[in-house]
Symmetry: C2
Subunit: 229 residues, 2 copies
């Protein structure tokens, strides 16, 4: 797709994208672009579980971060194109950060790809149980499961492509998570209450940081069920 | 605590609770109650990551489910006490379901306890990374991670007690989840796009069921960031 778009572009134009994985696709974009076209891969970290034009809303990018992964070079015209694209994102409300494309893929493996993989997995596990019905899972989902189903309702084709494209970073993060989950499992099996309490206390700081960074509403239940007011 | 409360109760009174695990605590309540006191353990499936009186709001129980786990017997007075307690919960907006206490613990292990364990774990894993900073995790959390941090900000003492009290059911569910996660990991490693796509498609049905069951808002981002309107 990048190749088709790139072939039609005139020198001085900017070629960007909004994909969730950067390293591989960026390489393809750089290879496909004619001389004089500024390739600046990008990724706005915003959105819901819904896809397509109807899923947009005016405040979608407000106070969210857009990551751009430009090449590092000393071309002044390229630097200007990066500044222009940054201004575009800022104009629609986003904050902009420049980042190495491989580092982007690692960061997103933690903040997005692994959470999606886990959510997809647990929702599948719950659906497969013999001793708990799907109806029970749905009715009593307000206990925490519900939040996982929202993430697991994201577009299957897009997420298949993300996991195939960002395999190495996802598997690295998954390895860390699995190791930590085994440690928690062991603490539960042996009734190691102190280890559990210490761990559960530590994770609250991250949440407070996210609220402080303006990436979350501190409202109870973030206004869920309050649409009517 | 149940023993102290029970000792002060007169015949004809009802002793209930709102704890997240039922089998063990219910046994203690039955043992502690004087003759003629109706012991009816209960659990409202509602709430946010916040605890204490200030975390309540008027609509907290509206259209949420409260599970009661009465003993099965043919005592008419006991049946009346169960009906009375059910009416109480309905009066403040909840739906009521009667359930065997062991089955309750298994259902909640899936819909609440395992999701909390996973959320606590991944948030801890993310905080421990050497190559991704905490600041990066916070800034780019809107990609999915944010939802896990909300769950992982729940009360550490309460959750420590839940995992100790519901050990068997949690470990059973954790075993299923880990098995399924290994299968996903393998599909990613081998680039098995079809397996990934099939799995990701299947989980959407559960989400639709939860929205249909009135346990979730279908609004984009469920009104997050829209409190101002």
């Amino acid at each position: 797709m990048a190749a088709v778009a790139a072939a039609a572009m005139k020198p001085g134009a900017t070629l960007t994208d909004v994909g969730s994985v950067k390293a591989g696709p960026a390489e393809a974009m750089h290879a496909a672009a004619p001389a004089g076209v500024y390739v600046i891969p990008g990724h706005p970290i915003a959105g819901t579980e819904h896809s397509g034009p109807d899923a947009g809303f005016a405040e979608l990018f407000e106070n969210r971060w857009t990551i751009l992964t430009p090449k590092i070079n000393d071309d002044e015209a390229y630097a200007l194109a990066v500044a222009r694209l940054s201004s575009f994102w800022r104009a629609i409300g986003a904050n902009v950060e420049l980042m190495d494309e491989k580092h982007h893929d690692l960061v997103l493996a933690v903040t997005s790809h692994l959470p999606h993989l886990i959510a997809y997995t647990i929702v599948g596990s719950a659906a497969d149980l013999e001793n708990v019905t799907e109806s029970e899972v749905m009715k009593y989902s307000a206990g925490g499961f519900r939040d996982f189903t929202r993430i697991a309702a994201s577009d299957p084709t897009m997420w298949r492509d993300i996991f195939v494209a960002n395999k190495d970073a996802v598997l690295e993060m998954l390895g860390r998570f699995t190791e930590d989950l085994q440690a928690m499992s062991r603490a539960i099996r042996w009734g190691d209450a102190d280890t559990l309490h210490d761990h559960f206390t530590r994770t609250r700081a991250i949440r407070r940081g996210i609220v402080a960074a303006g990436q979350e509403s501190a409202e109870p239940n973030f206004g869920r069920d309050r649409g009517k007011h």
